[in-house]
Amino acid sequence: MTGVHVSTTVNGDAVEFVCPGSESLLDVLRNRLGLTGAKEGCGTGDCGACSVTVDGQLVCSCLVLGAEVEGREVTTVEGMARGDELHPLQRQFIENAALQCGICTPGFLVAAKALLDRNPSPNEEEIRYALAGNLCRCTGYDKIVRAVNAAAKDLAREAKRSGKKRKRA
């Protein structure tokens, strides 16, 4: 077997691994790097449970080869919280009971963060379409949409506050 040697950045940390050329980024993350937050729900890009970002772009890690991320920056759900401080999306998912079994939650969080990074105040329809690539079978999506909406408001409030601080300083 021909292994590919890859140097990349995952959640801000420099990592190296060797994997078969055919191995997906999802398998690399889960089986070689011990990051099991991204889940395999389908392996075909239809459920979004394996969502991560590569150079800031939201992707299904099951549809990316491990070999492709040479020199890129990969972010997973494990990289969302800052130290012991949860990201507002993580906080709001818990507070809004936006998860039942929780298997889809990491993918939703990563996708929702990608949405809010690009559109800080999405309306309901924009939230629903942006999350259409993430399947949830427990919640009927109701509380998920509410949680994303609430997190957007939190982020806006935080941004306003830090903006004011900056002005004062």
Partner: protein
């Protein structure tokens, strides 16, 4: 399986040309990796073209646009010039899959995967798009509708790679649109689809039109009779009826898990009507 990420198109073409066993190009990978996962293909070589700088570019030229083979569909959706000039092509490309898929999939990949249901292809065909092909014998250009020869097969020869898509310069008073039918609001493959591109003459009379249909035949079809139905009209009901009838007549679909022959035929006509109305409005007609 060997993975290669060459820095130039020439190198990529050479790798593909001399490859023994199964070799595949990797652009977005949203079709290739699915087929690898299911065991449908077992590549000996995968050549990733995304590290070739030109594949990542959208260039505006005096003749229109050149879109590199590695440009993700999401990037098209953020390109203001393209959105203004070819909204139908962009919306077709942006219908492929979820945001996750959008971040990876490419129009060239969508074309070369050679599925009759590919969303971006009917829009490109209606737009008179051309594929720029490089290969061992140099460069050639081919109308997009000539690239795909049947489900899963293309006219590309060994070592040939579609390097870019060329979209013509947008004429004044013209517009395009693409619509597809899917059971859900997102995530589905088109059950049938229609692309319309038209140019208006004075007083809102349609001067020129191109109509294409997806998922109703082994390849995307260009329907000259449908174009004729529109040409010379102001998109009145009679013209629309003729358009729908021409589209239905051009359908030779199959019954499968995604739709029936009757349904595809009927709805292809409905979509063509609706797409024509949008394109007409975009062209400045009422």
């Amino acid at each position: 399986m060997n993975y290669e990420a060459p820095a130039t198109m020439k190198e990529a073409s050479k790798l593909m040309a001399k490859a023994k066993g199964e070799a595949y190009l990797l652009a977005g990978g949203t079709d290739l990796l699915v087929r690898m996962k299911s065991g449908m293909v077992e590549p000996d070589l995968v050549v990733d073209i995304k590290r070739i700088p030109a594949t990542q570019e959208i260039k505006k030229t005096s003749n229109g646009y050149v879109i590199g083979a590695g440009v993700a569909c999401a990037t098209l959706g953020r390109h203001k010039g393209l959105l203004k000039d070819w909204p139908g092509v962009v919306e077709a490309a942006n219908l492929i899959g979820s945001d996750q898929i959008q971040g990876r999939c490419t129009m060239v990949g969508n074309l070369c995967n050679a599925s009759p249901a590919a969303d971006s292809v009917p829009a490109m065909v209606a737009a008179r798009a051309k594929a720029v092909i490089v290969g061992p014998k140099g460069r050639r250009t081919l109308p997009v509708e000539k690239v795909v020869t049947g489900p899963g097969s293309t006219s590309l020869k060994k070592g040939e790679i579609v390097e870019a898509i060329k979209l013509p310069k947008r004429e004044s008073r013209s517009g395009d649109a693409y619509l597809r039918f899917v059971p859900r609001t997102e995530m589905d493959i088109a059950v049938c689809s229609a692309g319309v591109n038209l140019t208006l003459g004075p007083k809102g009379v349609i001067k020129q039109a191109r109509v294409s249909l997806g998922a109703v035949a082994p390849t995307v079809v260009l329907v000259p009779a449908a174009a004729r139905a529109l040409t010379g009209s102001k998109l009145d009901d009679k013209a629309l009826d003729k358009l729908a009838a021409a589209c239905e007549a051009a359908c030779s679909p199959i019954d499968d898990k995604r739709g029936t022959v009757e349904f595809r035929t009927e709805v292809a006509g409905v979509l063509a009507r609706r797409a024509a109305k949008i394109a007409y409005e975009r062209a400045g007609g009422k």
